[in-house]
């Protein structure tokens, strides 16, 4: 019996028992759909974070106090920072470009404009930020080095903050009050977009010197350094770390590259996706056991048919192939339906929920292969049993 014939015979058998076939497939359908959705949400999250980290500015190196351990996913940052604004000069010397280094200190604060009041992130930074982080100003201008040196009370608003505080009005030249201190708005940043449903445009930038006085601190949270090229990133980050280590031998620093951040995030997300996919995979396994079970029932029910086929010249192999093809057909059709449902659900999640979902080309392909493998794995046992039936005994069964 040729492959195509076996396929047709199996299809007839499945069609003859529509409801049972459908219910058997359901286990596979649910399993495959669940795996597809979980994987697409995992991929979506990963891609979004990747684009956000890359969006921080290309070839970026973050210099932070404490240990950034990529192996253990843990960072034991000391309670108080050991970095000062003056350390920026040290780093600038290493890079050989003063404009490639920017310092940052941040905190949450109440920001008020007239009667509108918002709690938002206040970011202390310097004139190099727009260049280093690739964040252009949409209106007005960013503060200058002179503004930083003179601790001027000037502020640049994120596009969302500008909208919230000054709805429908031009904020340039207006006043905002941050933690009771008045600032003059000199610019609005270009829109950056959302990250996990949180707007990145809801923040206020002020000169770092002003911010330190406002928050009554003298620390710097981090330095961001822009490397001249992607190739120079690893070497430069090593040099930056070495420079700080030479200056402060008994303190720990980390020079973290985007690749490292991506690696850590990817690791966390990968683990999370794997765990969820494994849980979804269990339902696929249960579905496979269901297929095996139904195929065994089917073999018993069709004992006489098997006996007849053998009497008419079907070999053990013909009967085995017939039942195996039937099992594989059940799981692959179930797999295809599961893929369709999984893809549809992923698109719905992406559209209707804050979770991003990206369907990678390989996930339906792998899902299809897995469903076929489940059919073979769980179909072999019942099929062998069918193939080995003694035709004399099988024909006698009623």
């Amino acid at each position: 019996m040729k492959g195509l014939e076996a396929f047709r015979v199996a299809l007839d058998a499945l069609r003859g028992n529509r409801l049972r076939s459908l219910l058997t497939m359901l286990g596979i359908i649910i399993g495959i759909a669940a795996v597809i959705v979980v994987v697409s949400i995992g991929s979506g999250a990963r891609q979004q974070i990747q684009s956000q980290v890359e969006g921080l500015g290309s070839n970026l190196i973050l210099v932070v106090p404490g240990q950034f351990d990529t192996g253990n996913l843990s960072s034991n940052a000391p309670a108080t920072s050991t970095l000062q604004i003056s350390d920026g000069e040290l780093l600038a010397d290493v890079v050989g470009d003063a404009a490639a280094v920017t310092a940052r200190v941040g905190s949450g604060a109440q920001v008020r404009a007239g009667t509108v009041e918002r709690f938002t992130t206040v970011q202390g930074s310097d004139q190099n930020l727009p260049e280093v982080f690739d964040r252009p100003v949409a209106e007005g201008s960013y503060f200058t080095g002179a503004d930083v040196d003179a601790r001027r009370r000037v502020a640049v608003l994120g596009s969302r903050t500008a909208e919230l505080l000054f709805p429908g009005a031009d904020p340039i030249g207006r006043q905002v009050t941050i933690s009771g201190t008045r600032f003059r708005v000199i610019g609005v940043l270009a829109e950056q977009g959302e990250s996990f449903g949180v707007s990145q445009d809801n923040e206020v930038h002020v000169p770092i010197t002003t911010a330190q006085r406002l928050f009554a601190v003298d620390r710097v949270d981090a330095f961001a350094v822009k490397a001249p090229s992607a190739q120079s990133v690893p070497q430069l980050s090593e040099q930056l770390w070495r420079a700080l280590k030479d200056e402060y031998p008994d303190q720990t620093f980390s020079a973290v590259t985007q690749t490292q951040i991506l690696g850590v995030i990817g690791q966390i997300l990968g683990l999370l996706t794997a765990v969820l996919a494994a849980i979804a995979g269990i339902s696929l396994l249960v579905g496979g056991v269901g297929v095996s079970n139904i195929m065994l029932v089917s073999v018993r029910e069709r004992t006489r048919e098997i006996g007849l086929r053998k009497a008419l010249g079907a070999r053990q192999r013909d009967v085995l192939v017939q039942f195996l093809v039937e099992a594989v057909l059940l799981t692959t059709v179930g797999g295809l339906v599961g893929i369709a449902i999984g893809v549809a659900c992923s698109l719905l999640v992406d559209r209707l929920s804050p979770l991003p979902a990206v369907i990678e080309w390989w996930s339906p392909a792998v899902a299809f292969a897995v469903s076929a493998a489940v059919g073979i794995f769980f179909g072999v046992f019942p099929a062998r049993r069918a193939g080995r039936l003694d035709p004399v005994v099988a024909l006698r069964t009623d």
Binding site: M1, K2, E5, V9, D12, G16, R304, E305, L308, R309, K310, A311, L312, G313, A314, R315, Q316, R317, D318, P391, V392, L395, D398
Partner: protein
Amino acid sequence: MSREHRTAERPAQHLAEQPADERTPAIEVVDVTRSYAFGSTTVDALRGVSFRIDEGEYTAIIGPSGSGKSTLMHLLGCLDRPTSGRLRVSGRDIGELSDAELAQLRNREIGFVFQAFQLLPRSTALDNVALPLLYRGVGAGERRERAAAALRAVNLGHRLTHRPTQMSGGEQQRVAIARALVGEPRILLADEPTGNLDSRNGAEVMRILEELNGERGVAVVLVTHDDEVAARAHRQVRVRDGLVERDSAAPAPAPAPRGADDDVHDDVHDDADDGAGVRRLGA
């Protein structure tokens, strides 16, 4: 391993018997036994049976239930192998064939007709009849053509796409006969073919079997407990307690106990000598 032992023992006897008849026997049964083990006890269903059926013969195997005739039928149908003795079907010793070879032998040489028809309920008459050809690797177009021809041969040309559930018992059995003859086998094994039919349909089925035997030269082996049905065959082989009690084609009646075969005389007709070359082997 006992099989090789036997064949080594027997060839001389076999060769000595063969030249006496020029026709190839369709079936040759020599001292066949078949035992079944049930736990520690063994049941001997056949205790040493010998006979021979030639091509184109029309034979009835008769016997009450428990006589061993079902076991014999399974052996003749190559569905089973003898425990000892030799059974040749179309010249091939079935004790020496693998399962796959037996399947092929059934497929090419034997057509089955069962008491309960044994049709696939969800398949059309055409698909049911084409089934043996499927396992012979015949292409779909040819299968259809030959199945349709076989159905026309049993006067069911108008029922090609009907399913068994849409047909009467007589029609279903005719579909089964069409299925048995579609592969043009040398032997047609009919196990109580009229058992589930009323007398009118039973007669029709018998008429078709006789036609096949007469016109196509198919050796028909009828297994039945019904003497009336058996009487229509040209030869009767009566089985009892795992032995051939009486063979109407045998030159001399087997030394069966008197009185036990009173009814046999009624069944054995004057056509007992029909098969000129028919004789008992191993006697």
